[in-house]
């Protein structure tokens, strides 16, 4: 499961132009850095998009990843969100087998996790879970015995926790060349 890999989270502001995702993905593959998950979304400024990249911390030193990313011209800003200092959320849709005899147990789990049943069929239900990636891991573990038909996760998005006494946001943008 994604959240169990030792990882770094980078939120990367990029120019909203064709081919930028390809530049970022290509950089990771040719420098042999591993991506655990990647989410791309628009920002409030339509000139920019935000990528939340979860990097396998064992595949490469973070510093080198950040420096190489910074060399991409459409990359505007990179912020590292240390796992302990960020608010992370992810969404999962999972189709779980739920015939008459197990349906109530699945429904009960759904309630415990404050998840939501978004579709119901004769033999299965589609459940949406939102939360920290660990919560999604736990839910999928627990429904596994009933039978998972299909599962999709969005990959995490993250923002730094708001500063209370000190600034926690650690900007790792460096000079570029």
């Amino acid at each position: 499961m994604t959240s169990r890999v030792l990882h770094h989270i980078l939120t990367v502001t990029v120019e909203n132009k064709p081919g930028v995702l390809s530049r970022v993905a290509g950089l990771f593959s040719r420098r042999a850095f591993n991506i655990v998950s990647l989410a791309v979304s628009p920002t409030d400024d339509d000139r920019f998009s935000r990528m939340t990249i979860v990097v396998d911390a064992e595949s490469a030193p973070l510093e080198q990843v950040v420096k190489q990313l910074n060399k991409l011209i459409p990359v505007i800003k990179i912020t590292e969100v240390p796992p302990a200092e960020g608010v992370e959320r992810e969404l999962m849709l999972v189709i779980v087998k739920a015939a008459a005899e197990t349906r109530s147990q699945v429904t009960e789990l759904t309630a415990i996790f404050e998840a939501k049943i978004v579709d119901v069929g004769y033999e299965a239900m589609t459940i949406m879970v939102v939360g920290e990636p660990e919560k999604l891991d736990a839910f999928s573990d627990l429904v596994k015995p009933f039978g998972i038909v299909e599962l999709q996760r969005t990959g995490r998005i993250a923002l730094p926790k708001l500063a209370r006494e000190s600034t926690r946001l650690r900007s790792v943008k460096t000079a570029r060349g």
Binding site: E15, G19, G26, K67, Q68, N70, L72, I73, R176, G177
Partner: protein, 573 residues
């Protein structure tokens, strides 16, 4: 003023002061070749698109200005991928323009369609696919800016045919607006101070100067720093000529085929002042045993190089010339505070290595012609400002080892990518950029066969380059590795000295062809070649195929295990 996209492209190149471009037309780029007729830009028609790219690179090396190449879509674009990759590895500023099928049919597998931007993304500093003719001046301005600033490198502009034909309203952008691109030129003052302190404390320092010295025009500053501190300096394959080889502090080339003193002084150093170099594996050998006692000062304009291979005790991001100039001031301030340790014993040690382990070969009277002998005679019979170009392999290593570079930007070769066939087109490009200079290429017979057709270009365009083929009838460097590391099991390395007949081939391409097979005729033939200034010259030097490049550090071995070669007897190992 209304222009077509094609006219806007040519006008934009003129605005960038492009004087010459190398290229070959074809379907998708046809619209741009039409306004070229009326332009002040000289176009050199190559015989293969790879040639255009390497010519642009040779031009950039020799002039310090960006080289420009223009080719069509599809196969032309893929043919120029090698020069792009070559320029990327060696940080050479070139601007490549490719035609593309009409924007409206991109993605339909149209005739001569290739995803050029996708293919070249990993081998360019940046690339652009233009979808609107109105963007052309802005993109050209950005392309030249990106290619030539920060760490220089190749860029590519892909121009679809319908965009080239579309109308646009002419303008020229006053400035470049790239919010994600701001190279840091000035080094951090505190880091520079720390570096000066380390320099002033070191007792076995070495300056490790790379190609960045050439890129930032830091040669004079480097010399001043070396002389101020008395620190001996190695110049890497890309940095040859950064400090003149005749300078007493210049130790020559380090690395896999570096001389003993350059390699060993780095190994034994307590400080490496790394200036515009990148700890390439061919320099470091086995990284974990490289310069084990040395602290590292690392100056580079590309922050990603700092700490990439070797931890830097003092990393400095900045333009190497600017940083050296600041460093000189900081070192003077340190000198005023405390005296540096006496480095005379270190210099004495280095002089002892130089005396005991020089580069060595023996040209026997009446014996087979040694390639090193040819290079030394060429070196001694050409002007100081002669530009020397090389391909890749044994001949390149001997040339780099034995040439006495006196000026920066007089050495043009393919370092990082190791592109065989680089020499002939790069020499043509260098000569176009510096018609006032004599340009000699030292090439191997294997290399020559890869791109020799560009001598047709040279003859047609009256570009009098001179090519010395060290013809040993082998892919010599591969042969050397098979001899040393594969129990002399020679696999697919024999080429034949006579097939092709290089003299006839040269003549067929409009050049003067000559052949030399003994040491006595070498100088006279070189002198004859030097006098020819109206067409290219090719000399087929028949050299000894047994000769190997020494010293050598085997791939993956430690630089401590340098092999000196048979000239040093059994102890050479």
């Amino acid at each position: 003023m209304k222009l077509t996209g094609a006219q806007a492209l040519i006008k934009s190149l003129e605005m960038e002061q492009v004087e010459v471009m190398f290229g070959l037309p074809g379907g998708a780029i046809l619209p741009v070749y039409d306004p070229l007729i009326d332009s002040s830009i000289r176009h050199i028609l190559v015989r293969h698109e790879q040639g255009a790219g390497h010519m642009a690179s040779g031009y950039a090396h020799a002039t310090g200005r960006p080289g420009v190449a223009m080719v069509t879509s599809g196969p032309a674009a893929t043919n120029i991928v090698t020069p792009l990759c070559d320029a990327y590895m060696d940080s050479v500023p070139i601007v490549v323009i490719t035609g593309q099928v009409a924007y409206s049919v991109i993605g339909t597998d149209a005739f001569q369609e290739a995803d050029t931007v996708g293919i070249t993304m990993p081998v360019t500093k940046h690339n652009w696919l233009i979808s609107d003719a109105q963007d052309i001046p802005r993109v050209v301005r950005e392309a030249f800016h990106v290619a030539t600033t920060g760490r220089p490198g190749p860029v590519l502009i892909d121009l679809p045919k319908d965009v080239a034909n579309a109308p646009m309203e002419w303008y020229w952008p006053e400035k470049v607006d790239l919010p994600g691109y701001k190279p840091n030129v000035k080094g951090h003052p505190r880091q520079i101070k720390d570096a000066a302190r380390l320099i002033n404390e070191a007792s076995r320092p070495v300056i490790y100067a790379g190609g960045g010295i050439m890129n930032s025009g830091a040669s004079r500053a480097l010399r001043e720093l070396a002389e101020l501190t008395g620190i001996p300096t190695v110049t890497t394959l890309m940095g040859r000529g950064a400090l003149p080889d005749g300078h007493p502090l210049c130790l020559g080339m380090p690395g896999m085929h570096g001389n003993y003193t350059a390699v060993t002084s780095m190994q034994k150093a307590d400080l490496l002042v790394t200036l515009g170099a990148r700890f390439d594996d061919r320099v470091t050998g086995k990284v974990s045993t490289f310069a084990p006692d040395a602290k590292i000062i690392h100056v580079d304009i590309d922050p990603a190089e700092l700490g990439k291979v070797r931890f830097a005790d003092v990393p400095i991001v900045g333009d190497v010339r600017t940083v050296i100039e600041e460093l000189i001031k900081a070192v003077k301030a340190e000198h005023a505070r405390t005296d540096p340790p006496d480095i005379a014993p270190w210099i004495a040690q280095i002089r002892d290595w130089q005396d005991r382990y020089p580069l060595k070969y023996t040209q026997e009277e009446g014996g087979p012609l040694k390639p090193q002998f040819v290079i030394e005679r060429l070196r001694d019979n050409t002007p100081d400002d002669c530009i020397l170009v090389a391909g890749v392999g044994q001949h390149q290593m001997w040339a780099s080892q034995l040439w006495k570079f006196k000026l920066p930007n007089t050495w043009v070769n393919s370092g990082g990518l190791g592109t065989m066939g680089y020499a002939v087109p790069a020499a043509v490009g260098a000569k176009v950029g510096r018609p006032d200079r004599m340009v000699w290429a030292i090439d191997g017979d294997g290399c020559f066969q890869m791109t020799a057709q560009e001598l047709v270009t040279a003859s047609a365009e009256r570009i009098p380059v001179k090519i010395a083929i060290l013809n040993n009838a082998y892919l010599g460097m591969v042969r050397q590795w098979q001899e040393l590391f594969y129990e002399e099991r020679y696999s697919e390395v024999y080429l034949s000295p006579d097939l092709p007949d290089y003299v006839k081939w040269a003549e067929a391409m409009g050049c003067i062809g000559m052949r030399v097979d003994n040491a006595d005729d070498v100088v006279a033939t070189i002198e004859k070649a030097n006098e020819i200034d109206d067409r290219p010259v090719v000399i087929d030097f028949r050299t000894d195929w047994r000769e190997k490049v020494y010293p050598m550090v085997a791939a993956g071995a430690s630089n401590d295990d340098i092999i000196l070669g048979p000239e040093f007897g059994e102890g050479g190992r």
